[in-house]
C-alpha cells in the first residue's frame, strides 16, 4: 500500500489491539436469516486501491456474503453466514497490510439529526429559490393582479417550507424560553414567524409588500450554518470513535466444571476466575492467582516501565498483559473497577466547567432584548406620530426582520467550521465549537509525561554502534516477546540481514528475559544480572544483555523517546505566553529527566485526584488550564481542565473526555491548535462586529419605515456573504511544518532510573 505512506505516522500512534472471534461475535449483530454483520475500523485505508484490496481480501473468505469499505468513515461492513463462527477478518486484513479494529455497532446509534438538517436545508433551498423567482418579478414592478397571484403562490410554497425547515429553530427557541432563558433561536423564530404572519395579512388584504422571500431565505442561510456546524462535530465524533477500543470487551471465565466461557465485561462478577492471555487487557480489577507476567501500566498509572505481576499481585482494569498467560480472580465488578472510578471522577470534575457559555449564546442574550425593545419602541413611536395601527405594526415587524440575526447566526459557526477544517487537515479532531472558544482563552498548559510527551515505546540507544550480527540475533530472540524493550530491539534491527542462528526452544521468564537453545548453546536476552553466569562481569550500564552460555555478547541501552517535536512545541507554547508544566504519575527520576530536557517545571508521582487538585488550584488563581494527557489517570484532569487534548493512543475514556484528539505523532499539533483557536476567536469577534455594524446601518432605515422586501432581501444576503467571506480567510495559513531532528533525551537514563 505504497499510497498510504503518509498515514504511517498515524499507525505508529495506535497501540496494539487484538480481536478474538468471540469479540467479533459480541460486536456483531444479526441482520437477516442466518446472516451476521460487523463493522471494522480500518484507519489506514487511504485510497481506491486500499478499498479494492480490502474488499477482495474479505470477500474471498469462506462464508462472507459481502464486504463493503467506506473510504470516508474508514470502515468496512462485512456480512457473513454465521453457521460456523466468524471468518478471520482481522487476521486477513493484517495479512493484506491493514490494521483493523472492531467497531461497536451497538454504541453507534445514529440520532438522525444530520439527515433531518440536510432535508430541512434542501426544502428551504427549494422554497427560497422558487419564492425568489416570483419575488424578482414583483420587484421589477408587476401589475397588481399578477403581484397578488404571486403572493398567493409564494405563500403556498412558504407555508410547508416554514413548517418543515423552521421547526428546528422553533423547537430550540421554545425549549430555551420554557426554561426562562433566551438563545439565538428566539429572535430568529420570532422574526421569521412575524414576517410570515404579516405577509399573510398583506396577501389577504392585497397589500404591496410581502416578506415571504426574506423569511424563507433567512431560514435557508441559517440552516447552512447549522448543518456545517453539525457535520463538523459528527465527523470528529466518528473519527474519534473509530480509533481502537482499548477497553476489554470480555474475557474467558473458568466455570465450575473447568470449561471456559467468553463473558462480556459487565457479566464478570467478583470471585470469578479469568484466563488472560499475553497481549490481552485486564477486564476488571483482580488479583493474580496463577502465572507470572509483566504488565504495561503506562495508560493506567503513567509509569513507563512494565510492572511484574506474580501470584498475589493486584492488577487494575485496563492494564495490558505483556509476557505470559495469567489466571486472575476478579475482585470488583466492571462498575466498581478503576476505570469506572476514573469516569465518575471525570464526571464530577466536568461539572465545574459546565458554567461556560458559548460566545453566540452570550451575544444572543444581549442582542435579543435590544432588538425586541427597538421594535417595540418603533411601534410606540409610529403609533404616537401617526396613529395608524397597521402602518405601525408593519414598520415594527420590518425592524424585526431586518435585525433578524442572519449574519449573527452564521458569524460564529462558520468560523468554527473553518477552524475545525484546518485542524482536521493537520490531524486534529475537534469535539465541538465551544472547545475552540475555550482553547483560545487558556493561560497554562499541563502535560502528562508517559504517552503524551514521550511515546509509549522506548528506543534503543546508539543502535549504529552495536555490531549487526549481535543485534539481529537479539532481534530474532526478541521477536518472541511483547516486552517494550524487545519490540524496540526488533524495530532497531529492521532492515538487517536475519540472523543465521536457529533456535530450538524459546522460553520467556517474566521479569527477567528470554532464553533460547540452539543446539548445545544457550542464549539469554534480558536483565544482565540474570543473563550472565557471573553477575560481576556486567559491562557498562546496559539495561539488557545478550549472553551466550552465560558469557557477555552485547549490552543494550534504552531511552524514553520524546515525541517528535516535543521541544519545539514546548518552546512555541512558551513563546505564545503560556505557562507550561509537567504533572505525571510516573516516578521522580524519569519525569525529572524529561522536564530537564524541555526545561519546564514538573510534579511527579501525582495521583489522579492530585492532578485535578492542581488544575483547581491554578483555576482558583485565575488561570485557565489546558490539559494534555492520555492515560486513564489523566481522565479526571481532562474533564476538570478548561480545555483538554489527548493523543490518538490515549485510553478510550481519555479520548472521549478530551475536547481535542490529535492523530499524528508530532506534538506541534498543540501550538497549532492554540494558534488556530486564537485566530478563530479574532475572526469571530470581527464577524460579530460586522454583524453589529450592519445593524447600525440597517436599523435606522427600518425604523424610519423605508424598508421594502427588496431592501430586506439584499441587506440580509449581503451581510451573510460578508461574514462567510471573512471566515474563509482562516482557510489559508501554514500547517505543521516537517519535523527537524528527532527529539530524544540523551543518556540511557530514564528507564534505567525508573528500574
Amino acid at each position: 500500500m505504497g499510497c498510504c505512506g503518509s498515514e504511517a505516522e498515524l499507525t505508529a500512534a495506535l497501540p496494539e489491539a487484538r480481536s478474538s472471534d468471540e469479540e467479533v461475535l459480541l460486536a456483531s449483530r444479526i441482520v437477516a436469516d442466518g446472516m451476521r454483520q460487523a463493522d471494522l475500523s480500518v484507519p489506514t485505508m487511504h485510497c481506491g486501491a486500499c478499498v479494492r484490496t480490502i474488499e477482495k481480501a474479505l470477500g474471498g473468505l469462506a462464508g462472507v456474503q459481502s464486504a463493503r469499505a467506506n473510504l470516508s468513515t474508514k470502515r468496512v461492513t462485512v456480512r457473513w453466514h454465521f453457521d460456523d463462527g466468524p471468518p478471520p477478518f482481522v487476521k486477513t486484513l493484517s495479512r493484506a497490510g491493514f490494521e483493523a479494529y472492531l467497531f461497536d455497532v451497538e454504541s453507534d446509534k445514529e440520532d438522525g439529526a444530520l439527515s433531518e438538517l440536510i432535508r430541512a436545508l434542501a426544502v428551504a433551498g427549494f422554497a427560497s429559490s422558487n419564492i425568489m423567482l416570483l419575488s424578482v418579478s414583483i420587484w421589477s414592478g408587476a401589475e397588481a393582479d399578477t403581484r397578488d397571484l404571486f403572493h398567493w403562490l409564494s405563500m403556498t410554497i412558504a407555508l410547508p417550507a416554514l413548517a418543515y425547515s423552521g421547526r428546528i429553530f422553533f423547537r430550540s427557541g421554545w425549549r430555551a424560553l420554557r426554561h426562562g432563558r433566551t438563545n439565538m433561536d428566539v429572535p430568529i423564530s420570532l422574526g421569521v414567524l412575524l414576517a410570515f404572519g404579516m405577509s399573510v395579512y398583506e396577501t389577504v388584504q392585497h397589500g404591496p409588500h410581502a416578506y415571504f422571500d426574506a423569511s424563507i431565505s433567512l431560514l435557508f442561510f441559517l440552516l447552512i450554518g447549522r448543518t456545517l456546524d453539525y457535520m463538523m462535530r459528527e465527523r470528529a465524533r466518528l473519527a474519534v470513535r473509530s480509533l481502537v477500543q482499548l477497553a476489554a470487551r470480555g474475557a474467558f471465565v473458568v466455570q465450575a466444571d473447568g470449561t471456559q466461557v467468553y463473558l462480556p465485561v459487565e457479566e464478570i462478577l467478583p470471585g470469578m476466575s479469568i484466563m488472560l492471555g499475553a497481549g490481552e487487557r485486564v477486564p476488571v480489577d483482580a488479583t493474580v492467582s496463577k502465572g507470572d507476567s509483566e504488565l504495561d501500566v503506562a495508560l493506567v498509572s503513567g509509569e513507563s516501565v512494565p510492572l511484574r505481576a506474580t501470584v498475589g499481585s493486584t492488577v487494575r482494569a485496563g492494564t495490558l498483559n505483556l509476557t505470559g498467560p495469567l489466571t486472575l480472580v476478579a475482585t470488583a465488578k466492571a462498575g466498581n473497577s478503576f476505570l469506572a472510578e476514573m469516569i465518575r471522577m471525570m464526571e464530577a470534575a466536568e461539572q465545574g466547567r459546565s458554567g461556560y457559555r458559548r460566545i453566540a449564546d452570550r451575544a444572543a442574550a444581549l442582542y435579543a432584548p435590544v432588538v425586541h425593545v427597538a421594535a417595540f419602541l418603533t411601534f410606540i413611536g409610529w403609533m404616537v406620530a401617526t396613529g395608524d395601527l397597521h402602518n405601525a405594526i408593519t414598520i415594527a415587524i420590518a425592524v424585526l426582520i431586518i435585525t433578524c440575526p442572519c449574519a449573527l447566526g452564521l458569524a460564529v459557526p462558520i468560523v468554527q467550521v473553518m477552524a475545525a477544517q484546518r485542524l482536521f487537515k493537520n490531524g486534529i479532531m475537534v469535539k465541538d465549537g465551544s472547545s475552540i472558544e475555550r482553547l483560545a482563552e487558556i493561560d497554562a498548559v499541563i502535560f502528562d509525561k508517559t504517552g503524551t510527551l514521550t511515546s509509549a515505546a522506548p528506543r534503543l540507544v546508539s543502535a549504529e554502534h552495536i555490531d549487526s550480527a549481535s543485534l539481529s540475533l537479539a532481534a530474532a530472540l526478541a521477536l518472541h516477546s511483547r516486552h517494550p524493550y524487545s519490540q524496540a530491539l526488533v524495530e532497531a534491527a529492521a532492515g538487517l540481514a536475519p540472523s543465521p542462528v536457529v533456535f530450538d526452544d524459546i522460553t520467556e521468564q517474566a521479569g527477567f528475559g528470554l532464553q533460547a537453545q540452539s543446539g548445545a548453546t544457550v542464549y539469554r536476552l534480558g536483565k544482565p544480572s540474570w543473563a550472565l553466569a557471573s553477575p560481576e562481569s556486567i559491562v557498562g550500564a546496559a539495561s539488557v544483555a545478550l549472553t551466550q552460555n552465560g558469557q557477555w555478547m552485547t549490552g543494550f541501552c534504552f531511552e524514553d523517546k520524546l515525541r517528535t517535536d516535543a521541544a519545539v512545541a514546548v518552546v512555541k507554547l512558551k513563546q505564545s505566553g503560556l505557562r507550561v508544566e509537567i504533572v505525571s504519575g510516573d516516578r521522580k527520576e524519569p519525569v525529572g529527566l524529561v522536564a530537564g530536557a524541555l526545561s519546564v517545571p514538573y510534579r511527579s508521582g501525582v495521583t489522579p485526584n492530585e492532578k485535578v487538585a492542581r488544575i483547581k488550584a491554578l483555576s482558583a488563581a485565575g488561570q485557565k488550564v489546558f490539559m494534555v494527557g492520555d492515560g486513564l489517570n489523566d481522565t479526571p484532569a481532562l474533564g476538570a481542565a478548561h480545555a483538554s487534548m489527548a493523543p490518538a493512543s490515549a485510553s478510550d475514556v481519555g479520548r472521549c473526555a478530551a475536547d481535542f484528539v490529535f492523530l499524528r505523532q508530532s506534538l506541534l499539533a498543540i501550538p497549532l491548535a492554540v494558534s488556530v483557536a486564537r485566530e478563530a476567536r479574532r475572526l469571530i469577534r470581527q464577524n460579530l462586529a460586522l454583524a453589529v455594524a450592519y445593524n447600525v446601518v440597517a436599523v435606522p432605515i427600518a425604523i424610519m419605515g423605508l424598508v421594502t422586501p427588496l431592501i430586506a432581501a439584499v441587506a440580509m444576503s449581503g451581510s451573510s456573504i460578508l461574514v462567510v467571506a471573512n471566515a474563509l480567510r482562516l482557510k489559508g495559513g501554514e500547517g505543521i511544518a516537517a519535523s527537524a531532528a528527532p527529539g530524544t533525551i540523551s543518556a540511557a537514563a530514564i528507564l534505567e532510573a525508573a528500574e
Binding site: 467506506n70 461492513t77 408587476a142 399578477t146
Partner: protein, 57 residues
C-alpha cells in the same frame, strides 16, 4: 404577460422534481461515502452499493 403564466407550474414542477431526486438520493445512501465513490469509478468490476449501516435512513 398572462400568456406566459403556464411557465410558473413548469418551473415549480422542475424544482419539485429536483427536490424529490435529492431526497431520494439522500435516502439511498449516495452521500454516505463520497471519497469512496470518487475512487470506485476507477475499478473495473460492476459495483452496486449494498444497503448496510443505516437501514432507518
Amino acid at each position: 404577460m398572462k400568456d406566459y403564466f403556464y411557465l410558473i407550474p413548469i418551473a415549480f414542477g422542475l424544482g419539485l422534481t429536483a427536490l424529490t431526486a435529492f431526497m431520494w438520493s439522500l435516502k439511498a445512501g449516495q452521500y454516505d461515502d463520497l471519497d469512496g465513490a470518487a475512487e470506485r469509478i476507477l475499478h473495473e468490476e460492476t459495483d452496486a452499493p449494498i444497503r448496510t449501516t443505516q437501514p432507518g435512513r
